[in-house]
């Protein structure tokens, strides 16, 4: 078991590599000094300043709206796409469809951003829509690249799922639409929730694609952070980062608690069903 000891060291080194930078970031957000990495005493003044920064708050609000809308749209489109890939067998054009689903996962962001911007410009010239660039175009762009993630999550959940439940419902005369809403949807609900959360996070995180497809007056939060970070570090960004980490950590903690409870509930139900039968 000597080897396991070495492995454990590798594992802890990996975790340290992943978490120490975030911990330092949080630590220095409570620093009194303007020089971020020189300790000048404990203070929460950067948080207070953050709440008075109107430009930042406006950008944050825009980002949250875009993220919520694009996550919702991409969950709808991605669920349908994942269902088609996992359940519809070989339909015409499946190869192209599968390709268009997986390619955005690895496509460099600069290419996605440039190509979508050129599409929007060409569309505006041809049919007058979208009229200028802003929230709508950012939302469409984010939906396009996040739906791929949702589709992959839903597809892998459906593939690992036994088809017999759906077949049984069909045999009992349920229409496909009813089977989907009564049987499939409740089973894949946890995957849909994680897909939505992932799409929301990815949208909230994107700076490159948004920079291409945004117009004047529609600056998202990552774009504000990016342009201020380019001129060096500032304690306000540390405070903002801390808040974001706290929000994400809380969200994930709650989500995993809820899912664990649902899982226990389902196991209990299954046991009851077995005992009852």
């Amino acid at each position: 078991m000597k080897q396991m000891g070495k492995l454990a060291w590798a594992l802890w080194f990996g975790y340290a590599f992943l978490y120490v930078p975030i911990a330092l970031l949080i630590f220095y957000s409570f620093n009194e000094s303007r020089l971020v990495t020189v300790w000048g005493g404990f203070s929460t003044k950067w948080y207070a300043e953050l709440l008075q920064n109107d430009q930042l708050l406006g950008a944050a609000w825009l980002s949250l709206k875009v993220a919520a809308m694009s996550a919702t749209a991409s969950v709808v489109l991605g669920t349908v796409a994942g269902l088609a890939l996992a359940r519809f067998g070989r339909f015409r054009g499946r190869t192209l469809f599968g390709g268009m689903i997986t390619a955005p996962l690895v496509m460099p962001e600069v290419i996605t951003g440039l190509s979508l911007l050129l599409l929007f410009v060409a569309l505006e010239q041809a049919i007058g829509w979208p009229d200028g660039r802003g929230m709508t175009t950012i939302t469409i762009a984010h939906t396009t690249f996040t739906m791929a993630y949702v589709a992959v999550i839903i597809q892998s959940r459906l593939v690992s799922l036994d088809e017999s439940l759906e077949e049984a419902a069909m045999d009992l005369g349920a229409r496909p639409a009813k089977v989907f809403f009564v049987i499939t949807l409740p089973i894949i609900a946890p995957a849909i929730v994680s897909g939505w959360l992932l799409a929301f996070t990815l949208s909230l995180d994107d700076v490159v694609v948004a920079s291409f497809v945004s117009g004047p007056g529609s600056t998202t939060l990552p774009m504000v952070i990016f342009s201020s970070v380019k001129f060096g570090i500032s304690p306000q960004i540390n405070a903002l980062a801390t808040l974001m980490v706290v929000v994400v950590a809380t969200g994930i903690f709650i989500a995993s608690l809820v899912m664990a409870r649902q899982d226990r509930q389902r196991k209990r139900d299954e046991q009851m069903a077995v005992q009852g039968g």
Partner: protein, 307 residues
């Protein structure tokens, strides 16, 4: 009757598939065709700043209209003829390769250790790897600026221990880019590696040990070949986006850290030369087509195997 119902069912399926299909065609495939088209155009001072490819020339005297299609390859010739672009492509590949190798060296032992842990502990341990991925990419890159800059955490530590007396700056160098990119892409490597290593049958290793095989040899001849699909998937998942990376080299790299994503960005935003930016994108895409197709193949096979 049943035939009719089946036909309605198939029709319904068609409608269901059509929605995401059309969305992807319009917002994913068509844009590439437009990028390709504009890469053959000429830059000019206009709104939008490129010459139209297809033009109707109206000849008033003869009362006829002529269709004129102008294509020029000068943008591509410029890419091939200018050292800047070739160096940027080569440098991007180099940085992406180093990042991939670093992620593999760091991620493989992690994935292996998690896959060998108690089954009840695997979930939480894996969760700890994925968790940073949920916090903003930009924030994680930003965290490294404070660590690597002169008078930053690393510098202070080195001066405090007396290893250096002069301010020591890692920031704005290729090293900072390697560290930042490895940091950001590590979860992408660990995830597929863990998925294949977890499925690995431990009795195979026991059999090898019973037959007198040393642990290291068993690892090289049994574990490593069997985890190859995970290694390939993880490497591609890191390598492909790394080649076109923009944010990390822009924030952590020096002015001479040339990467193709940065070149594209500057052509587009600073020079406003949309045709050249498009040509850079198409050239990058052509370079990535083979790795992307291999990735799709591996991805498809893994989903099938999940059945």
């Amino acid at each position: 009757m049943i035939d009719l119902l089946r036909r309605i069912g198939l029709w319904g399926r068609g409608v269901v598939v059509a929605i995401p299909y059309l969305w992807l065609l319009l917002f994913f495939l068509v844009p590439f065709l437009i990028v390709f088209g504009i890469s053959l155009s000429e830059a000019m001072l206009a709104q939008p700043p490129y010459a139209p490819l297809i033009d109707w020339l109206v000849d008033e005297d003869a009362e006829t209209t002529k269709l004129q299609i102008l294509l020029n390859l000068s943008n591509y010739l410029r890419l091939g003829g200018d050292d800047l672009y070739i160096l940027a492509y080569l440098n991007s590949v180099k940085i992406a390769l180093v990042t991939t190798v670093c992620c593999l060296l760091l991620g493989y032992p992690m994935a292996y250790a998690i896959a060998r842990a108690e089954p009840s502990r695997r979930g939480p341990l894996m969760m700890l790897v994925i968790l940073p991925f949920w916090t903003s990419f930009l924030i994680r890159i930003y965290a490294w600026i404070g660590i690597l800059k002169a008078n930053g955490v690393v510098d202070n530590l080195l001066q405090w221990t007396g290893l250096t007396t002069e301010p020591f700056e890692l920031l704005y160098s290729d090293w900072a880019v390697y560290i930042g990119m490895t940091y950001c892409y590590l979860p992408f490597m660990v995830l597929p590696l863990y998925a294949t290593l977890e499925k690995l049958d431990p009795t195979l290793l026991e059999a090898a040990a019973d037959l007198g095989c040393r642990p290291w040899k068993a690892f090289l001849t049994v574990t490593l070949p069997l985890s190859l699909p995970g290694i390939i998937a993880g490497s591609l998942l890191v390598f492909i986006p790394s080649v076109g990376e923009f944010v990390t080299p822009e924030l952590l790299g020096g002015p001479d850290t040339l990467m193709i994503g940065r070149v594209l960005w500057n052509e587009f935003f600073a020079n406003r030369d949309w045709p050249v930016a498009s040509a850079v994108a198409i050239a990058l895409l052509l370079f990535l087509v083979v790795p992307i197709m291999v990735f799709q193949h591996v991805q498809g096979r893994q989903t099938e195997a999940g059945r």
